[in-house]
Each structure stands twice: as C-alpha cells, then as structure tokens.
Amino acid sequence: MAKRSYYDIDDILAGQERVPCVLRVDLDGLGSAGSGAASKVHRDARWALPYWMADRLNEEDYVDMEVSPVFSKRANRMYAASPESIQLRAICQHFYQFGLQLGDVVPEIPHVLRSMYMQRIQRVARTAQQGHNVEALDFVQGLDKTEARMLKLCQQAESAVADWQQSKAHTLKKASVVSS
C-alpha cells in the first residue's frame, strides 16, 4: 500500500474503481456513456462512474456520489466478522489503495482497512514462511494487489535468509549471458 502519490501506477488504477452516482442535471447525447440505453439522460439516473471522475463531479455538484458497495455498511460488517476468509481479489483488486482514497471522504473506512489488514497480513506472512499448500491456495488466490506484493516480498526475504545461512548470499556467479 503505497502512500498516495501523483505518479504511482497502483494509485491511478485504484482510482478507476466504479462508484454509484446519481445525476443532478440532464445530459444530452451521453446516453451511450452510462448504461448504454437512450441518447438523452435525465436527472436522478443512476450511473457507475470511476472514482476519480465521480469525486470531481461531486465537488462541482453535477452528480451525487454515494459510497461504493465495496465499503457499504453491510460489507463493513462482513469484513469485521471474518477478515481472513474473504476473497478480496473478487471484490476489488486494489482494495486497500481504493480504501485509502475513499478514506478521505468516508471516515469509517480507515478503521475497517486497518483491522482487515492487520488480520490478513499475519496470515500472508505465515503462508510465505510455510510454503504453499492446498488450503493456502484459496487464500493466496484471493489476495489483493497490496497483499500479493507483500507475499512476494516475504518469500524473497525467506529465500535470501536461506542463501545467507549457506553463505551463498554474496557469491559472484558467472552471468548466463556469458556462455563459455
């Protein structure tokens, strides 16, 4: 989970997640952009817009942005109940980064994120150390991008420690490109 940064790719991708919005004005000729029906879109039509767009339009009062279903009250209760068994990749691939962005607007979200992260990251670290087995496979397939990156880091650290214990850490090896 990188801090929000202008140039961070994960941040940009996370901002692409859709949030439901209610239009405040009539729009002509943009029907194909929304749900794809008529060419004229009336007020109070519901649209799912990417977060970065919805946030700006919300400020300008063209739409009313609502909380994404990823962080609805029902979803938050589910997260609090059993954090480790939830498949985050199915819900939202950039769960934490998106939560960071929404967290500026919705105050309960940082709390939810923190408790989820604290519980799941322990399981991630355990899985990295024990190697992949069958029951961990489901868990690993349900990680979001941040957790997947952490898993990879932990695995690299594990192999680095093993190398270091066998004194292979700083051995110079002939590059594979230079064949004899």
Partner: protein, 249 residues
C-alpha cells in the same frame, strides 16, 4: 576496525612529513592522528565506565559514518565538504609517497588509496541518485538546497532542465496550454513535485546519551542511552541525526 587502524598507521610513525609537506593541510585532526590511536585504545579500556570523552575522529571514520547515514536516510543530508577535501588531499599525498617505495609496500598503499577513493565515490553516487529522485524539491526548498554542494546544485538544475525538455518534447507540448504545467498541486492534494518519504523506517544507534526522549506524542518518553539501537520513523530522529547524537545503521 582494521582498515581504520591501517589508515592511521600510515601517518602515525612519520609526523615530520606533516609539517614539511605543503600539500597536507594544517588540519588539527590529522596532526593528532598518532594521539588518536592511543585515545581509542584508552577508550576501549574504559568503556564499562560509560565515559563519554570526545574521541578525536579522523576524516576516514567521519566520512564512513556520513556514508552509512546517507545510504540509510530517505532525504539528503549535509554535504561533508571539508572531510572530502581533506581526504582527497591525503590521497594525493599518499600517491606521492608511493613513488619512492618498493613494490610490495606501494601495492599496500595503493589498496589503501583505492579504499578511500571507493568510499568517496560511493558517497557522491548515493547523493546524486537521491538528487535525481527528487531534484525539483531539493532545488526549490532552501533547507535542502543549502545541503547540496555547488556542483550538486548545478547538477540538479541541469537535470531538471533536461527532464523538462524531454517531457515537453515527448508529449506535453501537444496538450492544450493549460495542461502543460509540471509542478502544480492536483485537486486532491497530490503534488507533481515528489518529496522524499520522511516517515520511512530506519535503524539508529545512539552515540551520546540523550536521556528521556519523546518518540510518539501519545506514548511515554524512552531513555536513550549510548549504544542503544532503535528502529523508528526517520522524521522522529532526524533532528538528533543532524546534531550527531545518533547514527543510522
């Protein structure tokens, strides 16, 4: 450490060279190098008394400490101009001395000189890579632009110019005029000019006792005694680092 003793040993037995040669600057630290060896031995004998005498540090260990600090810190630290200049003059002096020596001794002296040159090069390279990451920020903020040497400042400005030219030529000039800025703040407070992350974790060792130190506003102060090692956010200890009371690992 062995290398430091080897370095000091080169100058210890020949104090007359310091006075006669004009190439060696009259730095108080070097004329006392032979004393420094003895002071360090005394210090190791008295360490259980928790004595904190000001050990005469020679340029090499100062640069080594500055180098380790520089490599661990997320932002750029003060430039050790004086230390580097002294060391480069010592290197010249040593190279001169090498010419009159038999081959084996010359070899050893050359290894010594190579170690010093490696350290200086690595120090400068670390600083340059940090400058390249956040060039605009370091040039704009006066606290940072003071920490750069004149050469580094010129390098940073040149780098900024090159990057801007490249970006403009590649795609920026094809955008409408009001989208061409490179240093604005976007609507959500995200800045185009990246800053170093001052909250990254660092390991630090205490060099001189600081007493009770407040790490977090909500927690109790922790006693920082000499040789204690802590892991903490950089922003908390950066003032102590500037004063030289802690060093990074």
């Amino acid at each position: 450490m062995d290398t430091e003793n080897m370095y000091e040993g080169n100058f210890g037995p020949n104090p007359d060279h310091h006075e006669s040669s004009t190439a060696v600057p009259a730095s108080s630290q070097k004329t006392q190098l032979s004393d420094a060896m003895e002071v360090e031995d005394n210090r190791s004998a008295e360490e259980d008394e928790e004595d904190e005498e000001d050990v005469m540090e020679d340029d090499f260990s100062m640069l080594m400490r500055a180098w380790t600090n520089e490599r661990s810190a997320p932002d750029i630290l003060e430039y050790e101009g004086a230390t580097i200049e002294n060391l480069m003059e010592l290197v010249d002096f040593q190279l001169q001395k090498m010419k009159s020596q038999p081959a084996l001794v010359a070899n050893i002296l050359k290894m010594d000189v190579d170690r010093v040159k490696y350290l200086v090069r690595s120090y400068l390279r670390t600083r340059l890579s940090k400058i390249e990451q956040h060039a605009r920020h370091y040039v704009n903020e006066p606290t940072y632009s003071e920490r750069l040497s004149q050469n580094e400042l010129d390098y940073a400005k040149g780098f900024i110019g090159l990057e801007e030219k490249h970006v403009r030529k590649s795609f920026l000039d094809q955008l409408p005029p009001h989208l061409r800025t490179v240093d604005e703040v976007s609507g959500e407070g995200l800045e185009m000019v990246t800053k170093p992350d001052l909250d990254s974790a660092v390991f630090c060792r205490v060099r001189s006792t600081v007493g009770e130190f407040q790490f977090e506003a909500s927690e109790d102060p922790i006693a920082m005694k000499r040789n204690n090692v802590f892991i903490t956010r950089y922003s908390i200890i950066c003032n102590l680092l500037e004063d030289g009371k802690v060093e990074l690992l």
